[in-house]
Symmetry: C2
Subunit: 146 residues, 2 copies
């Protein structure tokens, strides 16, 4: 991971390029987002930032998270947050997800070569199974773009 200062400079540069004001709140939100090696929820970011800017509001965190996502400075871990998606297919399978309409298509497990990890990444993690998502744009949405 890059040192925090260079990330900070990159952050300011990207803000200016995008026409985003470099506010104190925005800077701290971004710094905390990077500083936690984790994948925090907006609420968790809010808690960390509040320790430094007690008057900050949760709404400001949400607005900036959205701004950062739109700008590509952040990603969401999963496209499926926000609403539960149910799966009645009991056969082992994976998913193909359209990032536009969010439709989900099944891929039988037999269609994908088994995942192979080169090293065991975290000590003591007991692996249950692998879940593969093929992300992209489905035929219908691709056609609709013309």
């Amino acid at each position: 991971m890059q040192p925090i200062e260079s990330l900070q400079q990159q952050f300011e540069a990207r803000c200016r390029k995008l026409g985003l004001a470099v506010t104190h709140q925005r800077t701290v939100i971004y710094r905390e987002l990077v500083a936690t090696g984790e994948h925090p929820t907006p609420e968790a970011v809010y808690e960390r930032v509040k320790a430094q800017i007690p008057a900050i509001s949760l709404g400001t965190v949400y607005k900036n998270v959205k701004t950062f996502l739109d700008a590509g400075l952040l990603k969401e871990v999963s496209l499926h947050h926000g609403t539960l998606r149910l799966d009645a297919n009991t056969d082992p399978h994976h998913h193909m997800v359209c990032r536009q309409c969010r439709r989900i298509f099944d891929i039988p497990e037999s269609e994908i070569e088994p995942v192979r990890l080169k090293n065991l990444p975290e000590s003591g993690f007991q692996i249950d199974r692998f879940s593969i998502e093929v992300l992209g744009v489905c035929g219908a949405c691709a056609a609709a773009r013309e």
Copy 2:
């Protein structure tokens, strides 16, 4: 996929084994869940069931979905629904997710052999990238189970 009648019988058998009453609502909810080849939201299931049982309530759908999930009749497509998880890591990487505490650990892309699809599963789907989740129990949660 299995014919709907045999799924129906299996469903009743599993309900009886679990001590779950085989109600009309429950039966229709399960049937619709299986019938859509999709991965519907609870709201979408509610709409389909309402066409057959106009008096059904959304709460009943939620309660039964929860019951079915607990019983293992259904799965959720993603462990990350319900709250946004943010990712500031711009290097290509995958994730290891603890199904107990929901913590997320990064795996550098270089640690995993590239995914290989045997056939192109859906016509016209434009693949963007692959996202791999290693699901299991993290070291801390495994230790806490003793």
